[in-house]
């Protein structure tokens, strides 16, 4: 068992952890969920027939572990808030930026935040395709989607991200316009020191 774990760890651990981190956006939760994946995998490893790759098998289980986690989060929220609209599968959270992201360019931090507006499936596809660098075929195998579904989900996810980035840009431009007007009226002093 330990040997099997070591093999899986060496080959896939960081990929698995990163996928789960970007799904749930919380390092501590990602650690717990990664362990959950190993438990499920090790419990049924003897039945693995090698008809799909180990990597896609692990990621397929990771996706379901993440979905279970979201379900539980929503059950808790539902109890507190009264209702939850599952149709939108909105998975926004309020976690702080991890250190790795805090030092990134503002646009990178914004796209990270914008991911919250994607559904679970859109987020999974986008993580695998653009953060993990998987091909359409690999993504389809890992998520057990058809390739056409990967393409559609990816397209819809990117559209949402683009819209969010546009909204942020418009807000920023509005703020700048207001600031300029105030400056011209002498309400706000410039801080350039000039």
């Amino acid at each position: 068992m330990e040997e099997t774990f070591q093999i899986l760890y060496d080959a896939y651990h960081q990929d698995l952890y990163q996928f789960l981190f970007y799904m749930v956006k919380d390092k501590s939760q990602a650690e717990d969920l990664t362990q959950e994946v190993y438990i499920r995998v090790l419990n049924s490893y003897h039945t693995f027939e090698g008809r799909s790759s180990e990597k896609t098998w692990l990621l397929s289980i990771a996706r379901h572990v993440a979905i279970d986690w979201f379900r539980k989060q929503q059950t808790i929220r539902q109890r507190i808030m009264g209702t939850f609209d599952w149709d939108t599968q909105d998975v926004r959270d309020q976690h702080l930026l991890p250190d790795e992201l805090a030092v990134q360019h503002e646009n990178v931090r914004e796209i990270y935040t914008a991911l919250d507006h994607c559904t679970i499936d859109q987020r999974a596809v986008i993580i695998l395709r653009f953060i993990q660098g998987y091909s359409i075929q690999e993504t389809a195998a890992a998520l057990r989607f058809s390739e056409s579904k990967v393409k559609t989900t990816q397209h819809r996810g990117l559209k949402i991200l683009r819209k969010q980035m546009e909204l942020l840009r418009e807000e920023l431009m509005d703020d700048e316009v207001i600031l300029e007007r105030r400056k011209s009226r002498g309400v706000v002093k410039t801080t350039s020191g000039g």
Partner: protein, 365 residues
């Protein structure tokens, strides 16, 4: 005005998201997995007894007084049970599963029972190969808790401890021992759904619930009656959706909603069933038209030119979900036209396909 952010720029930004690494050692993780294992054991039976007794009582009560149920929504069994820990999973993922139905030729070799996924409260009909040719539904139902299903799946005996199931002509008799107490409306609703779903796929017409008089709780029994029965129509006019358990195993499960016509049902299959548990198996533009042969025996489904149905898991789920839906409306076969491929799963989709006998076959138990 042209958008500042196009897909390429968004993709580029996504690629710049940093790698995030787990800095724990493999030894530390393995230790956590090892210590985590007891948590994954099957739920202790201790909670099942009292809860199940309550469930049974409430179920009987609710069958007799159906109005009690109307203002209550089905809840989360796990959540309502409180103590119930998430069960570990033992079933294997089947990455290239070829079918989700029992064919008509095999119908005498299978028994179909309903289970509830304690993670989600979804009710799933699962078909098992008979252990012996003359195995009855009552025998299988009595021993359902020993069947090889994911451990989060609850069987009727999981909910009704001390249950004895026998058959009498067209009736399935479910006898329950023990004192009864009400615990949760949601659990009772779930049990009711499981019993009805089991009945749907059985040769029986009614389920009769009986309690065994044992002196304890007599007043309670009097309050709720000593027996109850439920029956279902075999042709239930439902649509099919896919359901995925926590290990990724897919199942075809019927909608809670019923439909006036097969056309409405197929339209309904393009959306979700109103819950988080199920997923649509038909893309919105996958079907061009639906009609039936004059004799009403054959449903004809013209696939769309726009959406190619492939020989894939998704394609198999769609074809078999449609076959099961056609069965719900009394059709004996389905003819798919304009398919882009000749073969999907086990089917030659250029020829009429007989509707299957039952959903979700699992290997021999």
């Amino acid at each position: 005005m042209k958008s500042y952010w196009n897909e390429e720029r968004v993709e580029e930004l996504l690629r710049q998201l940093p790698a995030v690494r787990d800095h724990r050692s493999p030894e530390a993780i393995y230790r956590n997995i090892e210590t985590g294992k007891p948590y994954r054991k099957k739920p202790a039976r201790s909670w099942i007894g009292p809860a199940a007794a309550g469930v049974c009582a409430l179920c009987i009560a609710l069958i007799i007084s159906p109005h009690l149920m109307t203002n209550k929504s089905a809840g989360d069994l796990t959540a309502d049970s409180g103590q119930a820990e998430k069960a570990s999973q033992s079933a294997a993922v089947k990455p290239d599963q070829k079918t989700f139905v029992v064919s008509n030729e095999n119908k005498n070799n299978y028994i179909t029972l309903a289970f509830a996924d304690s993670d989600t409260s979804a009710v799933i009909p699962v078909s098992f190969e008979k252990k012996k040719p003359d195995e009855s539904v009552s025998e299988a139902l009595s021993e359902a808790e020993n069947l090889e299903v994911p451990e989060s799946f609850l069987s009727v005996p999981n909910l009704l401890e001390g249950v004895q199931v026998t058959a009498d002509k067209k009736d399935l008799l479910v006898q329950v021992n023990g004192r009864l107490s009400i615990e949760s409306v949601a659990d009772a609703d779930l049990l009711k759904k499981m019993l009805k779903e089991t009945l749907t796929w059985s040769p029986y017409e009614r389920i009769k619930l009986k309690k065994v008089q044992n002196g304890a709780g007599q007043d309670f029994y009097k309050s709720y009656g000593i027996s109850a029965e439920m029956s279902v129509h075999k042709q239930t006019n439902r649509a099919y959706f896919s359901y995925s358990d926590s290990l990724g195993q897919e199942y075809l499960i019927p909608s809670e909603q019923t439909y006036y016509s097969v056309y409405q049902a197929i339209d309904g299959m393009k959306t979700t069933d109103g819950g988080s548990q199920t997923a649509s198996i038909i893309e919105a533009d996958a079907i061009a038209s639906v009609s039936e042969r004059e004799d009403g025996e054959q449903l004809r489904i013209q696939l769309s030119e726009k959406h190619k149905v492939e020989d894939s898991l998704e394609g198999i789920l769609m074809i078999e979900g449609l076959l099961l839906t056609a069965k719900e409306f009394g059709y004996s076969e389905v003819l798919f036209t304009h398919a882009h491929t000749k073969k999907i799963g086990n089917y030659d989709v250029t020829k009429p396909i007989a509707v299957p006998a039952a959903p979700n076959p699992l290997p021999s138990h």
